[in-house]
Symmetry: C2
Subunit: 358 residues, 2 copies
DNA sequence: TCCCTTATTGCCACCGGTGTCAACGCCTGA
DNA sequence: TCAGGCGTTGACACCGGTGGCAATAAGGGA
């Protein structure tokens, strides 16, 4: 095998240990200029069919793959997709991330994750540095940062493509993904009202998140549609965290009129409320129904399993990526809900049931 | 605002909208060659103090930051750290990721996440492509992939620095982080034995993970130390997932001699076992004690809160990064356990208690 | 005083691609 | 026969840094 005419190695002596083939190697072997090779790898239509085939053959033979770093330098655009987030909820991050990866896998693009903290004084400087050092192919902004106007301004200024994921339609529909949290919360309200609950509490997320407002608003709408309204004393603000949910739950339990049902702005807080209920010695569902939001893994692991509103975060990650990079990347046809919009859906489990006389 | 003398732009006419300063700009203004500037940004010791100060001043004045892409091309080393994983457990991923980010934040390095699936036939090709396209500054291999010899071979071949996180000491101590899972499991066994349990079951993770074996082995050791042993019928293999835990739990509940305690290879499975126990109508802790492993967020959200073994995954991510990049990056002193080794610790909560007569 | 070091610095090629634009061959219509 | 147009290709500069090595200045020893 060794002797005889060189199979795929070039004819001249090759002392070098091994080196990734470059565009020059391809050009030489295909007897064209490197510019033409460049055209081929960039799928330019201005290449003769035969030339293209010849080059493709050489590329395949050599196992050539263009160097993303060099391409990045020359074209002033890297082959990296950024995910910028500021999130109290790791599950959200992982899901969005996974959605993006679903789309870019195998495309040569890579995902760079960049957490930040909007309360830091140099938050913007940090993100700005990131953005204009790496000249990202695109950036996905999940709901935790999608409404930060300063951030968006930085992105726009640096001419970096971006897609925003938010609970409501923003001013740039063409690069937004809407999650319609309000719809989901409305379903939760209808569900509880339908079970006969009248005294229903709400534990919402922090004021700084649009989703908190949307979920609360949808819930209030749902109640109203059922002829109910949200008692101020049963309308608590918490922080989207488990611990804040525990505290809110304790306050509810200590309230003079105890609710028969609680709708929480997310599953973490719902788990916290469940804990508070149990501390009181009451039963979830039998005594007090609890409904969460997100359908995080936690929801199905609790006992009784949590009734919640499924928010397909991973899908939003996928949709955002498609928006960002075009659908040329997606081999598999996307689920038909790829219209830049996603609809939450109530998942009824065991933590909610009909109101019982007491 | 448009008219008027340019504020901070250079004196000559600047038609260009705005452009990031380059090393050339710095060199020109500091009156040195760009090579010298390069030396300064790379902290070369062979630069005259005054020259360095002059250049630093210009850099600061201009707000110059070197382009990582260009640097990557020239030096054949990118400024990206890779995290390669193949993990059934998102929480693990998020924690490791966060640990790495703790260290590289603000250093100019960025984190690229690259999931893979070791059962795919082209798994290795995919990872190899990733690795030698991006010439990573370093790669962190969490336990899910750290013992894949093929993968490690690829890394070594491409001369990419890497650190492996594993449950036991590997053959390359200098670039490994050890989690000592065995110790943790032993503590769990001692805990349960100390509570008087004799009939103790174990639900372990999949055969393909070293950690499954280590945790099981540590558990068996602990039992043995207490004069107990693991009944074959109570020694179940599951898959580290919630669902597999439910199924294992159901099998245990159906077993002729029901255990009074169960130690699970991770919290997810423990949650599954809890569910199975409840389905049977039994009480966790009172009837059957359950102990998990990981101390994931789930553990404290369950009711009763899960006794488990805390495994500081985030710390391992931090330690791995330090190993990889040296401690020059870490502003804050690292916790003193930075010896390439981490020790699990039992966290007693409410899911385990003394054995009760029945 | 001269040669050899050591400390600093600059020159220039190069990393592996892309952008710009000119050039070439061939066909068409005048 | 010739200008013009289309399809295709290549030459060359350039992206923004780093590597290798020579050049230069200053200091020390013989």
């Amino acid at each position: 095998m060794k002797p005889g005419p060189a199979t795929k190695s070039s004819t001249h002596a090759a002392i070098e240990p091994k080196r990734r083939p470059t565009i020059n190697d391809v050009a030489r072997l295909a007897n064209v200029s490197k510019k033409t090779v460049s055209r081929v790898i960039n799928q330019s239509p201005f290449v003769n069919k035969e030339t293209r085939e010849r080059i493709d053959a050489v590329i395949k033979d050599l196992g050539y793959a263009p160097d993303p770093v060099a391409r990045g330098l020359a074209s002033r655009r890297s082959y990296l997709v950024g995910l910028i987030y500021d999130n109290p909820n790791p599950q959200h991050v992982i899901d969005t991330q996974q959605g993006i990866l679903d789309i870019i896998r195998g495309s040569g693009l890579e995902l760079v994750v960049h957490p930040c903290n909007r309360r830091d004084k140099d938050f913007l400087a940090g993100v700005r540095g990131f953005i204009d050092r790496q000249k990202l192919a695109g950036v996905v902004l999940p709901s935790s940062v999608s409404e930060d106007d300063d951030l968006v301004a930085v992105l726009r200024e640096s001419e970096t493509p971006y897609v925003r994921i938010a609970s409501v339609l923003l001013d740039e529909p063409e690069n937004s993904i809407v999650t319609n949290d309000r719809e989901g919360a409305r379903q939760a309200a209808e569900h509880l009202a339908g079970l006969g609950h009248k005294v229903i509490a709400h534990v919402s997320g922090p004021d700084t998140f649009r989703s908190s407002h949307e979920r609360r608003a949808g819930f209030v709408e749902g109640l109203k549609a059922a002829g109910l309204q949200l008692d101020k004393k049963l309308d608590l603000r918490a922080g989207y965290t488990f611990q804040s949910g525990v505290e809110a739950g304790r306050r509810l339990m200590a309230n003079q009129t105890r609710p028969t049902a609680v709708f929480c702005g997310n599953d973490e807080m719902a788990a916290g409320v469940c804990q508070a209920i149990r501390e009181t010695g009451l039963d979830i569902c039998k005594d007090i129904s609890v409904v969460g939001f997100d359908d995080s893994p936690l929801a199905s692991r609790l006992w009784p399993a949590l009734t919640t509103v499924l928010l397909p975060i991973r899908s939003t990650g996928r949709m955002a990526s498609v928006r960002l990079l075009g659908d040329r990347l997606t081999k598999e046809p996307l689920e038909d809900d790829d219209l830049g919009e996603v609809h939450p859906r109530l998942v009824v489990r065991a933590s909610s049931g009909p109101v019982t006389k007491s």
